[in-house]
């Protein structure tokens, strides 16, 4: 659903970080900030919580490990035990390499899948971004316009060194 946004365009990371701090201090809610590369400290300034992806990764790892151990033990120990030179059917040390590999595989696939779904990055999706130049050299701050605050926000962004300020109706 498209809404009205005020977009402040900045030319570098330092003025952007300063502006994020000031805008938030003034009590204005920032919808989102768009940058060409990861700007360190930006997520904290925006008050974003830490990503829960590491926890998801850990859970996928546990799943992978359990699957791998169960699969090997069931196949070689329960379903079809084989006598290989009189050695034990359940040779646990031999299960280490495959368990490790499957743990890594399922963690990686599961976590990346979660990341893509969480960000809504699906092949063929349209990018929801305020300005095409944010993947090149511009840093954009999008603030939702709620009817009365437009003039105040525009003058604040102007004061904070925004190179350009646009008002757009788009879906972010």
């Amino acid at each position: 659903m498209s809404k009205h946004y005020i977009i402040g365009v900045f030319g570098d990371e330092e003025p952007l970080l300063e502006a994020v701090k000031e805008v938030r201090a003034s009590g204005t809610r920032i919808h989102e900030v768009y940058t060409p590369f990861p700007v360190h400290g930006l997520d904290e300034l925006l008050g974003y919580k830490r990503s829960r992806l590491p926890k998801a990764a850990f859970l996928f790892g546990c799943l992978g490990f359990t699957l791998a151990i169960t699969m090997q033990a069931w196949m070689l120990g329960i379903d079809w035990p084989m006598n290989i030179g009189g050695k034990p059917a359940l040779a646990w040390p031999d299960f280490v390499p495959v368990s490790f590999e499957l743990t890594v595989l399922i963690t990686a696939l599961g976590m990346v899948g979660t990341y893509l779904v969480a960000c809504d990055f699906i092949p063929g999706n349209e990018a929801k971004m305020p300005d095409l130049r944010v993947t090149n050299d511009k840093f954009c701050m999008a603030i939702e316009r709620d009817g009365t605050n437009a003039a105040a926000i525009t003058s604040l962004l102007n004061k904070l060194g925004a190179e350009e300020i646009h008002e757009k109706e788009l879906e972010l």
Binding site: P36, Y48, L76, M82, P97, L105, A108, C119, F121, A127
Partner: protein
Amino acid sequence: MYESPIRRPLITGETSYAKITEDIAQTVEGKPTKWWYLGFIVSVAALCLWFLTVGYLLFTGVGVWGLNKTVDWGWDITNFVWWVGIGHAGTLISAILLLFRQKWRTAVNRSAEAMTIFAVICAGSYPLLHAGRPWVIYWVFPLPNTYGSLWANFNSPLLWDVFAISTYLTVSVVFWYVGLIPDLATIRDRATGLRRKIYGFFSFGWNGSAKAWQRFESVSLILAGLATPLVLSVHTIVSMDFATSVIPGWHTTIFPPYFVAGAVFSGFAMVLTLLIIMRKAMRLEQYITINHIDVMNKIILVTGSIVGSAYITEFFIAWYSAVPYERYAFINRAFGPYWWAYWAMMTCNVITPQLFWSQKLRRNITAVFIISIFVNIGMWFERFVIIVTSLHRDYLPSSWAMYSPSWVEIGMFIGSQGLFFTLFFLFAKFVPVIAIAEVKSVAKSSASQYIKKTADQEGVDLKELNPQVVVPQLIDQYE
């Protein structure tokens, strides 16, 4: 951002975010150079040879190889181990150096990781064909017995290899692609028409939002943490194919670390061979600088020395074990009928990397290119020596034999180079070969332009600071 002026620059010359985008995107957007066409045509010709020899092999059977009852692993497994090893440098650069926060990695990780993927594809083709009937290769996977075989045997290192190599390929592709998404979006946002549609599809709707970057960084860090033990496990498991057997010269505990060091060693040599050509052909000298080449040479020096020590240790342990077969295996390697392979390996792997103690040679592109080729050759011979010289004379002298490759094996080896380089040339044309976003994130701290500025502000004379190294780099650009 403060950066000590003593740091060597990673981006030389004038730079800005827009210029970085422009310089790297031109390799995708512009017409390829005539060097690209030349290289691509040669590679495709070699690839045709691959199809020809593999086709002949499939219609006739593995008997067309030069293998015999005694030497039943020859060029096929040699090439398998060689190609997997080459892949390791890409993962080391993209994963281990990310954990160590090495900034120079940003300019080379994309192409090094592409090299990994293509090398592992080439590697995988060998066991697939060695198995004889690739159309039933699914038997290696643990599928229900009704599919043809019993459950796979999880006690066998060969099966561990199946899991290690397929996991390695999958995780490498995923890691590479996650890093690629923002850069594909950069190309998308500069393009119109069909190119915009295609890159739009493959960039998954990337928008560069702060939340997306936060998640991106989190995912990259964890993938690096996963890929680091993974890459060490892959060549460890490959070495166990040998070490868990009882063939003299193979049955040794030194193999896992020795194989991993050798893998990184050969991989960096291949990275250098490729990058020295690519930076020239793609006009990327400003981003892949002599400083990048210098640090990679230091890694070659370290891993080359580890490999050299391993050769000597192996020899010593064979003598110290007092096992006659073990002793004979090593004496036979050095002075038996395959002496030339052993000494080619010793010269290329032990002596040539030692030349990199000299800073002059480390920073001389021609010398580096030649040495990197020597290391590639030496590491191929290492695998050949380990496999063939150990097999051809083991416990029973009546079954001793010699081995030489048939034209099919030679054709397949040249052909697999064709497969590798064809994929690499296609990558270089259609994908940004340098991680655009990552280079931008280190531009402020590592571009010569900014380092010069810091030095000026502090009143530091760069000439006095490090006259040998920093100055030719920096001053050339500014005076």
